[in-house]
Symmetry: C2
Subunit: 189 residues, 2 copies
Amino acid sequence: MPLIPIGVSARHIHLSKEDLFTLFGEGYELTNFKDLSQPGQYAAQETVAIVGPRGQFEKVRILGPIRPQTQIEVSRTDAFSLGIHPPVRESGQIADTPGLRVIGPQGEVNLENGVIVAARHIHFHTSDAAKWGIQDKQLLRVQLRGERPLIFEDVIARVSDQFALDLHIDTDEGNAAGVKTGDQAELLL
Amino acid sequence: MPLIPIGVSARHIHLSKEDLFTLFGEGYELTNFKDLSQPGQYAAQETVAIVGPRGQFEKVRILGPIRPQTQIEVSRTDAFSLGIHPPVRESGQIADTPGLRVIGPQGEVNLENGVIVAARHIHFHTSDAAKWGIQDKQLLRVQLRGERPLIFEDVIARVSDQFALDLHIDTDEGNAAGVKTGDQAELLL
């Protein structure tokens, strides 16, 4: 069975250019702190605070580059602490999601929406998908043999020639499985 | 396939009589706030604070009745916040586990050990176990068809005529599956 590297995503934020400028100042550019597994994506040096009706988190990592719309990805556990109930969604699907207050060094933004719990998914390069007969949007099963073995079902396939092979799960899922970034999952075909 | 009710356990503490008296005063008795699924077990009205090297939680629920030894059960997410790394263990197996500071209204206790991440398990009444051919300590698979479908493997069977049928998972596991207490899992035999 194909082995897929695991990436466990902690809470993070993607910013629109407009929100970046509001939070950090007009014309601001993010600093690459560390490249991520997907080509061109990086963790920025910069962080923001996010504030919900019940709780808040300081130093939430910004992921770059900028995107058309601001999006915050939290775990369900984070969401309880913040006092919001975002839906489980694919990245980019932010209609009818809750917002949060975002605070940067130069200003703040009151998001009307944009907070999701990210649906687990696998990034496939087109060549990997072709090799294993995987279609974009296909629902897959992956087996994780960490400290707490489990099988994730309904894992969404995302196929692009811009992607590198990676299973993306959040911290609740990583902790439930007892795995960390760099561990491997087995794709059940 | 047999359906098993799910119980999602938030962080909680079981106290020895000695630690109960130190925290709440000599001769103190816990007040039953709510009966739990297992016969004789209850959530107490009383709470304590638990303090780790990195963070702390206020109002951690005490579960009664008192036990031979104090034990704290947290999720892996909680453990990161507290700044400790407890192992995944069955209840009662607290050798070589980390401790925490526990603060009550009348005193505090510095636990040398006792903190675990509870291994997921199913309580079976002896009659249910006999009906389905389940042995105590057997490792089982359960399928959860919540918002985020998955199959938990290596779920430990615990069989006793003092038990009521229940799958116990922690908040990381409940959140990873998108289920809550009262939902049902399917035992894969």
